[in-house]
Symmetry: D2
Subunit: 407 residues, 4 copies
C-alpha cells in the first residue's frame, strides 16, 4: 500500500467538517490506521480516532493531527475547493472550509504513520496517532482526555504536533518555551430598547452601542498595553437587527483575545468589561451588558529539552537555513491538553505552506509579503508541495528522534 497523499489532501479539502462532526474524516483516518496494522479506537471525544502501534519495548510517542474545518465560505477558486455546507453548534446553516489547514495535518499524519509502519524494523516502542476533533472550538483535546483517552491508550513520553502556516514551504518554525498565545473567546450581549426605525427617541439603539463599543475596544491594545506586551483583541462577530426599519432590543459582539501572560490576560478582560459598561452607560442602556466566556485555550508551551532535540533533528535533516524561531505566535492551540494530562513534554512546530518565491523581498528588506492569505481567510491555500512531503517527513523525523533505534 502506498497512499497518494495529494489525492487524499484534495479529497479532505473538498469535504471539510465542522467541529465534533468530523465523521467522514475520522472514518478515513481510522481506515488507513487499520490497514497499516494499528489498533484503532474510534469515537474517543465524540469523533476522535486513536491508533496504537505497539512495536516492542521503548518510549511511547504520540503524533497528533486535528481534523475540523471552519464556517468559512471558500473563495480560493481552487479546483478542489469546498462547496460544503454544515450546521454549526447553534443550528445555523454555514458554508464549511478547511481554512486553517487541518486537512494538511491529517494528510501528513496519515503519510507519517505509513512511513513509520513501513520502518517498524528500524525502531522500537509504541506509536500513538491521534486524530483529534474540534481544535477550533477549543474543546477537542480536553474532550478526548475526559472521555478516557489515557484509559484506552498508554500515556506517551512525548507529544508531537505541527501546524501549517503562511511562511515559506519547506521551512519550519520551532521555538522552546511559550510558542503560542493563550486565547479566550467571549460574547457580549448589549441591551438596548427596541422600537420603530423612524422613532429612535423612544429607543436605546443597541446598534450604535455595539458599534461604539467595538471602536472603543481598539484602545485596549493601542493605549492600555505596553508596546512590548503582545496581545490581540479581535471582534470577530457583530450582530444586531432583523429588519432595517426596526431598532432592535439587543446586539451581540463575539470577541477573541490573545495574550502571553496571565497579567496581560487579566488586564484585557477587565478592560473589556469596563469598556462595555462605559458604552452601555453612554447609551443609557436599561440593563448592564452581559459577558459570557465560551472557550479558553491556555498558553502552548514547548518543553525546552525535547524541543532542542527536535530542532537538532530537523536541522540535521532539512538544513540549518530552513529552521527559524518564529517568536511567540498569536494563534492558539489545545494540543497542550494532551501533553499535560499525560505529564509528558510537548513539542509543537510550524510547517511552512506558502509559495517561497513570494518571500524574496523579505530576505533583503525585512518586509513580509502582505498578500499571502492567513489561516482562517477564505483564500487560505497552502501550496501542496513541498508542504505535504515536508510535513510528513517532519513527523517521521521527530518521532524517530524519540523512539528507540532498533540496532
Amino acid at each position: 500500500m502506498t497512499i497518494d497523499l495529494e489525492e487524499l489532501y484534495k479529497d479532505l479539502h473538498s469535504h471539510p467538517e465542522l467541529s465534533f462532526q468530523e465523521t467522514r474524516t475520522a472514518g478515513i483516518a481510522a481506515g488507513y490506521l487499520e490497514e497499516l496494522g494499528f489498533t484503532v479506537h474510534r469515537n474517543i471525544g465524540k469523533t476522535g480516532v486513536v491508533g496504537v502501534l505497539d512495536n516492542g519495548p521503548g518510549p511511547a510517542v504520540m503524533l497528533r493531527a486535528d481534523m475540523d474545518g471552519l464556517p468559512v465560505k471558500e473563495a480560493t477558486g481552487l479546483e478542489y475547493a469546498s462547496t460544503a455546507m454544515g450546521v454549526d453548534h447553534e443550528g445555523k446553516d454555514m458554508p464549511v472550509m478547511h481554512a486553517c489547514g487541518h486537512d494538511v495535518h491529517v494528510t501528513c499524519l496519515v503519510g507519517a504513520v505509513e512511513v513509520l509502519a513501513a520502518q517498524r524494523d528500524e525502531w522500537q516502542g509504541t506509536l500513538i496517532a491521534v486524530f483529534q476533533p474540534a481544535e477550533e472550538w477549543g474543546g477537542g483535546a480536553e474532550t478526548m482526555v475526559a472521555d478516557g483517552l489515557y484509559d484506552t491508550v498508554p500515556k506517551p513520553d512525548v507529544v508531537l504536533g505541527q501546524h501549517v502556516a503562511p511562511f515559506p514551504a519547506g521551512w519550519f518554525g520551532v521555538r522552546p518555551g511559550v510558542t503560542m498565545a493563550s486565547a479566550d473567546s467571549l460574547n457580549i450581549t448589549l441591551h438596548g430598547r427596541g422600537g420603530h426605525g423612524s422613532r429612535p427617541e423612544t429607543t436605546v439603539d443597541p446598534v450604535l452601542m455595539a458599534a461604539a463599543t467595538t471602536v472603543r475596544l481598539q484602545g485596549i491594545v493601542s493605549r492600555e498595553l505596553a508596546a512590548s506586551d503582545s496581545a490581540v483583541v479581535t471582534v470577530g462577530q457583530i450582530h444586531s437587527g432583523t429588519k432595517n426599519n426596526i431598532i432592535p432590543e439587543t446586539a451581540t459582539l463575539g470577541l477573541s483575545v490573545r495574550s502571553f501572560s496571565d497579567a496581560t490576560r487579566d488586564k484585557i478582560l477587565g478592560s473589556i468589561e469596563r469598556i462595555a459598561q462605559g458604552e452601555a452607560t453612554a447609551s443609557g442602556a436599561p440593563k448592564e451588558p452581559e459577558i459570557h466566556f465560551e472557550e479558553h485555550f491556555p498558553l502552548t508551551v514547548n518543553d525546552a529539552a525535547a524541543t532542542a532535540r527536535v530542532s537538532a533533528a530537523f536541522t540535521a535533516k532539512f538544513g540549518e537555513t530552513q529552521i527559524i524561531d518564529p517568536g511567540p505566535v498569536s494563534g492558539s492551540e489545545d494540543v497542550g491538553a494532551l501533553a499535560k494530562a499525560a505529564g509528558a513534554p510537548l513539542v509543537f512546530w510550524f510547517l511552512g505552506g506558502a509559495e517561497p518565491s513570494l518571500f524574496k523581498e523579505w530576505a533583503t528588506t525585512g518586509r513580509l509579503p502582505e498578500d499571502i492569505p492567513s489561516n482562517h481567510s477564505p483564500y487560505f491555500a497552502p501550496i501542496i508541495q513541498p508542504t505535504l512531503a515536508r510535513g510528513t517527513e517532519a513527523l517521521v523525523t521527530a518521532a524517530r528522534e524519540f523512539l528507540a533505534d532498533e540496532s
Copy 2:
C-alpha cells in the same frame, strides 16, 4: 351576526404573519366579508383581499387596513402574546409579532364593515374594503395595483385609512398635507479581507469598518442637516462574522432613512455614500462599499379638502379635544399608492392606542411619557379599549362623511 372584535383582535395578535404570507389573516377577513354580503376578491397582490359592497348610485369609498406582522420576538408578556415563527424573504427563521398594530387595523376594518353593512339603508354608494399585504416591506399597495386591483374593483372617490400609534387611546391625529415621511431602505456591504482572529495584520477588519461607519453616520443628522430639517437615519441591522476567532471578509449594514423633502433625501443618501467610502478608505478596504436600495416609500400626503371634512366629522363625533395635529410623522406608509393609482384624495389618520393616564404630565409640562413602547418594539401593546371601539367608529364616521346619505 355580531363579531366579537376583542376575540378577533387577540386571535390575530396571536397569529401574526410576515409580509406576503398573510394567508390566515386574509382568509379570516374574506370570510367575514362574504358573510356580510360583500363581493370578495382574493389573492390580489399575492395575499390581498378586497370586498365590494355595491349599495346603489353614489360615491365609492375605499377603507384600507394592512395585515402583516414583523420579525420581532414578542416580549409583552400578554396572555395572547405571539410565539409564532416565520420564514423571512431571505429564508431565515424568525419570530413574528404584530409589533406595528396591523392587527388593530384589520380588526377595526372588520368592525367597520359590519357596522356599515348593517347601516346599508342609511347610505348609498359603493364601499370597498381593502385588506392589504406587505405594508412593512413597502410593496403591498403597489403590488395590489400592479396585480389589477382597479381592473377588478371600481376606482374609489376617496381612500381612507388609519394607523394605531402610542398616544392616548380615544384621541386621533389628523393633519392635512404631508403627514408621514418618505422612507428608504438600503443595505451597505463593506468589503474587508478575512483571516485568523489572532493575525489582524494580515486582514482588513470589516467589523471595525462597519462599526466606524455606523458611528460616523450619526453625523448626518447631527451635523449636516439644519435643526429644523426633520429626518432620521437608522442603522437597523449590522451583521458580520461567523466565529469569534475568524476575521470575516465583509460586513453589512441595513439602513432606514426618513425625510420630508426630496432635497433632504438627496443630501442624506449622498452623505451615506460619502461616509461609507471614507470609512472604507480609512480601513484600507480592498474594494469600494456596495450600496443596494431595497424599498422606497414616498411621502404620505393627505388631501387638504378631504382631510378637513374628516377632521370636522371626527370633531363632531368625538369632541374637539380629542383631535390633534401630530405634525409630520417620521413613520412611512404605502397607502398613498392606492389613492395615487385611483387619482383619488387620501385621508390617513392616527388612532391613539396608549393608556391615557400615562399622559397626565404631558398636559402640564409638555413632557411626553418615555416608557410607552413605540411601534416595532417587542413591548408594543395598544390597550384594547377604547382603541378598537374608536378605530371602528372612526372608519365608519369617515366613510359616512363621503358616502351619500339615503334620505
Copy 3:
C-alpha cells in the same frame, strides 16, 4: 450732517472688538448720538452706550444694536477685511472679526437715528438707541440692565432689533412667538492620567477620551431626539496637550447647545452628562468629568401683537414678497433681556444680507444655496447694499409704527 453709512460700515468692519472691549465702536456711536442731539449715557454695562431723544409725550421705543466681534481670523479677502488682534477673556491672543455682522447692526442703527432725528417733526414720543456690548458672550444685555439701564433711561413700550442673516438682501424674516432658540454654553473637563507618549500603558489617555466623547455626543441629536424636535449640540472647542510626545492629564470640550423647549433642553443636558460619564468609565478615568455651565441664552420670543404690526408695516413698505417666516431659528440672542426687564413686548427680525442672485434655484427647487457662508464663518460677508439701506429703513419703519404720529 449726512453720515456715509458705507464708509462707517467698512471702518467698523476693519476694527472689530471682542465682547466688553467695544470702546472704539462705542465711542463712534456715542459721537453720532451727541451730534444728533441725543442725551448720551456711556459705560452702561461696561462698554454699552444709550442715547435718548425725548421728543414730547408719546410712546417710548427702544432700538437696539449689538456691537461685538468674534475671535475668528477673517478670510473673506475683502479690501476692508479685519487684521485686528485682541485678547480674549482667558488672556489669549486672538484674531478678531465681525463674523456675525454686528457692524451691520451698528451702522444701520446709526443710520436710523439720523433719519428719525431728521424726522422729529413728524413723530412724538421718546426714542432710545441702545448700542449693546457682548451679545456673543450672552451677558451684554443683562449686564446693561444690572448696571442700572432702566434707572438711567425710561422703560420702553416696545423693544425693536434686527440681525443680518444669509438670505437674500432686501428680504426680511419676521415671525411671531418663538423666533430664536435658547442656548447653553458649557465646558467639560475630562480627567486622564498623563505620561510619556511612548508609554500609554502607564496613562489614561484624555485625548482619546475627548475624541470618543465628541463622537458619541452626535448620538443625542441623531438618536435621542425626535425628528421633529429641533436642536443642535455643537462641540465648538476641543483642546488637549502641549507636546506630541506627552500624553496630557486632561482634555476640555466646549459645547454649545440649542433647543426650543425646556423639556428638550433638560433631556440634552442630561444626555451630555451621561455620555461624558460613560466615556470616562470606558477610558478608566481616575476622576469623574466636570461640567461647567458658562452662558445661558433664553428663548427669544416675539410678542404676537407687536410683531403683527411690524410685519404689516414692512409689507406696506417693502412689498409682500419680501417678508418671510423663517421658522424658529437655531441661533440665539440676548435682546429679550432688555424687553423682559422693561416688561415690554419684543419684535426682533432678520435682515437678508446675501447676494439675491444666488437664490435662483431656491425658488424652483427648494434647494438652498450651500456656498453662502453663515454667521461666524471666516468668510461671512454680507453684501453692502441693499443690506445697509434696508436695515436702516426697517428700523425707521418699525420705530415709526410705534411712535405717535405728529398731526
Copy 4:
C-alpha cells in the same frame, strides 16, 4: 570641593528650562567644569556645554547628559516642585517641569566628573563631558554636531549615557542592539468649513473630523500590526476652536509614533495618511488633510561589544541581580547622533529611579505596579537616593572601563 548633589538636584528640579533655553542649567554645569579644571566650551548647539579633561594619552570617552525640561505643570507636591513658566517655540506661555528626569542626568554627570577629576591619577586618556540641550525636541545632539562639536573637541572612542526610568532605584537596564525606538513627531491639519455653532448644516465640522480621526488611528496598532510588532501611535495634542458657539475652520492633531524597524515605521506613517484622508472624505472636507513632519529620532542602537563591557563592569560593581535587560524600550533618544557623527560605539543604559518596595508583587506575579508615574507625567518623581548615587557611580564605572588604567 565636594558638590552636594542632592542640593544641586533639587535646585535644578525647581528651575527647569525648555529646549534650547537651558541657559541657567548650562551655566551651572559650565561653572563646575571650570572649577574642576576642564576646558569648557559654551554655546555649542545654542545652549550646549562641553568640558574636556585631557589627562594624557589614551582613549577619549564621552559622557553625555541632556538638560531640558518639558511643558508640563508639575503636580508632584514635592517641596522642591517647579512652578516655573516658559515660552515654547510657538510663543505660548507654558508651565515647565523636569518631567523626564534630565535634572537627574545633569546632577549625576556633575557628580561623575568630580569623581573622575579626583581620580585623575588612576587613569589616562581624555574625558569629554557633554551637557546637551533640547533632547525633547530631537534636535539637540544634531545641532551640537552641526555647530562644530567635533571641530572643537576630539572625537571620542565611545559615547556613554543614561536615562532615569520608573523601575527600582539601584537597578540598571542594559541591552545590546536596539535599545530604544525610533520616533517621529508629526502634525496633521484637518480642514473643515467654519460657521455658526447653531448652523452646522452650513459647515464641515473639523472638531468631529479630528475626533473621528483620533478614534480611528487606534486601529493602526490594534489591527494593522502583528501582536509581536511593537509600536506606539500617540495623539498627544488635539486642538480646535476658539469659542463654543463657533464651528472652526480647522483642527490640528499632534502625533508621536514609535517603532522598531523601518518596515513598521513606513507602514504606520502610510496608515496615518490613509486614515486622515478617509476621515476627511467621510466628513466631506473641502481640502485634503496636511501632514507635517516635525522631528525624527532614529533607533538607538547600542554597540554589542562595548555594551558587553559596560554590562560586565556593572555586574562586577553592583551585583548580577541589579542588571536587567529591559527589552527594546518604546521611548526615543538623540544621543545616537553624537556617536554616529564620531563613528564611535554607543552604550546607553537605564537607571532605576522608583521606590523599590513598590515592586514586591512583581517578583512573584510578574505584575508591574501600575501607579508609578512614568516619564512625562506631571507626577514623575524619581526618589533621590539611591538614584543619584547609583547614576553617578554608573557613569564613573563605565568611563573607567574604557579609560586606560594608570599603572
